[in-house]
Structure formats: structure tokens, C-alpha cells
Amino acid sequence: MGKLKAFGLFWYDFVIGDDPLVAVLVIAALAGTAALSTHTTASWWLLPVIVTLALAATLARAVRKK
């Protein structure tokens, strides 16, 4: 069980890293882009906007911890 947990924690840390908020926002942004793409072809702008906000949010959280 200990090794299985360590294996899971390794992959969590490898993919998700220090701030799970980034992964949540990325998934939400991709889902939002996919939903918007069913209505219009001009849906490319949504992902850059949310990624910029995600970067700002994760930086703000990191700086607050310092």
C-alpha cells in the first residue's frame, strides 16, 4: 500500500505539481473551448484568456505564501 501510494503521489506531483488550481482551470478552459466551438468557429480566444488568468492566479498564490 505504501509503494502504491508513493507511485500515485509521484504521478500526481509529476503532472499536477504544487498547485492543483492550474489543472482545474486548464480542464475548465478546454471544456469551455469545446462547448464554445459547437456554436462558433471563433472560439480560439477563450483558452489564452483563461491560461493567462490561471498563470496570474497561481503566481499570486505562490507569492502570498512567501
Binding site: V15, G17, L30, P48, L55, L59, V63
Partner: protein, 246 residues
């Protein structure tokens, strides 16, 4: 254009990871002897080869749209982590990575650890440390090379860039017999963070069904946008830090 960015991104990312793995292997090899350290390197490379051999063909059979959605999401999550750390380092909120200091820490730990023999391995400590260094850093290399290569439908080209980067770092390390402290590692990490995030953004949007204006010609603009945002974030954080200090 896409091929050049692919080669550059994979080469830079793999070189950065190889520098970190080299620091660990050099510290172990020069402090405790090369036999067990190189056994650890060989075992690590074997495991990575198995991972690449299993995942590589699996990625290429996925439909391109699904692949770009999944890989774009993973690269975005992964790239934003790199970018956050790189921005925090560049703005002074996180210590810069120092290979010479990392090497000294590894040497100190290697000198203090006791030796124990296990089957064919004379020094288990040297073996496991080298093995872990190669596997942990190598997994990132394999992940980046496979995802970039699969998305461009050119895994062999990505593999060539990855192997060239690792070989270049190894040759330099053997030549100087010291950690590559003069490699501009922090700047390279910043560039890799921008590229991982930019490619993740581009492919992720395409995978989600969006169409970029100008198609592939939009990629350099996406990368430039991420670079601009990252440099802007460094500027803002530096000013905040200076205001806080005064």
C-alpha cells in the same frame, strides 16, 4: 516552421533535464566509484526505453484531435508549472537553480552514506541514486519528446532532438568532469516553460475544436504572446518585491 520549433523545444527541454541528471550521476560516480553509478544509469535508461517503446506506438494510433486535446491539456498543466517556477526565480521569489551547489549537496550525502552490496551491485546507494536521477529526469525528457513528436506526427525527429541534447550534455560533462554550472539553466528553463505552455495552448485549443486564425502560422504568435505575458509577470513581481523591500 513547426519542425524548427519542435526541434528547438525538445532539444532545450531535454538539455535542461540532462544537466540535472548529469549533476547527480557525476557526484555519485566521482565520490563512490563509477561501476555501480553506471549500472544505475544503464538500468534507468533500460526502464525509460521500455516506457517509450510502450507509449510511443500507443500515442500514434490515437486520432489527432483527441491526441491534441489530451496532450495539449497535459502540456498546459506541465508547462504552467515550469513557467510559474521560472517566473518566480527570475523575479527573485525563488532561489535560482545552482548546479555547483546541487553537486556539493549530492557529494556530501554520497560521502556520508554507508555502502551495502546487493546481488550484482557492489554499492546499492550509488546504484539507486544514479537510477533515480536518470529515471526522474528522463521521464520528463520522454514525456516532452513523445508528446511533441506524436502531435507533429514525427516521433523519430523528436527522439533525434532528445538524444542529441542528452549526448551533447554528456560529452560536455565528461570533458569538464564537473557539473555544468555555466550552462544558462534558469534562462533555458524560462524558454522551455514558454514553449511548453505555448504548444499546449495551441494544440489544446485545436483539440477542443477551435480553429486558429491563419492555422499553423498562428503558432509563433501564440509563443510570442506567452513570452510577453511571462516577461510582464516578471516585471510586475520584481516591482512588487522592490516596493515591499523599500
Amino acid at each position: 516552421m513547426g519542425t524548427a520549433f519542435l526541434l528547438l523545444s525538445v532539444f532545450l527541454a531535454c538539455a535542461v533535464e540532462a544537466v540535472e541528471a548529469l549533476t547527480i550521476v557525476l557526484a555519485v560516480g566521482l565520490t563512490r566509484g563509477w561501476r555501480s553509478a553506471l549500472q544505475g544509469v544503464a538500468a534507468g535508461l533500460l526502464l525509460l526505453a521500455v516506457v517509450v517503446a510502450a507509449l510511443g506506438p500507443a500515442l500514434t494510433v490515437l486520432p489527432l484531435k483527441a491526441l491534441r486535446l489530451v496532450v495539449g491539456g497535459l502540456l498546459l498543466t506541465f508547462g504552467l508549472q515550469w513557467l510559474r517556477k521560472a517566473i518566480l526565480r527570475a523575479s527573485g521569489y525563488k532561489d535560482l537553480r545552482d548546479e555547483a551547489a546541487a553537486y556539493q549537496r549530492e557529494v556530501k550525502a554520497a560521502r556520508e552514506a554507508a555502502a551495502s552490496k546487493k546481488s550484482l551491485v557492489e554499492d546499492w546507494y550509488a546504484f539507486t541514486l544514479s537510477f533515480k536521477g536518470v529515471v526522474l529526469e528522463g521521464l520528463e525528457v520522454a514525456f516532452i519528446a513523445l508528446t511533441f513528436g506524436a502531435n507533429q506526427r514525427d516521433i523519430p525527429l523528436a527522439a533525434v532532438a532528445a538524444v542529441a541534447a542528452v549526448l551533447a550534455v554528456c560529452v560536455a560533462g565528461v570533458a569538464v568532469k564537473a557539473p555544468l554550472a555555466r550552462v544558462p539553466e534558469n534562462t533555458m528553463k524560462f524558454a522551455v516553460g514558454v514553449m511548453l505552455t505555448g504548444f499546449g495552448l495551441f494544440w489544446g485549443a485545436e483539440g477542443a475544436g477551435a480553429h486558429w486564425p491563419g492555422n499553423d502560422a498562428a503558432l509563433p504568435l501564440v509563443l510570442a504572446y506567452i513570452l510577453l505575458v511571462a516577461v510582464g509577470a516578471v516585471w510586475v513581481l520584481k516591482r512588487r518585491r522592490a516596493a515591499w523591500a523599500s
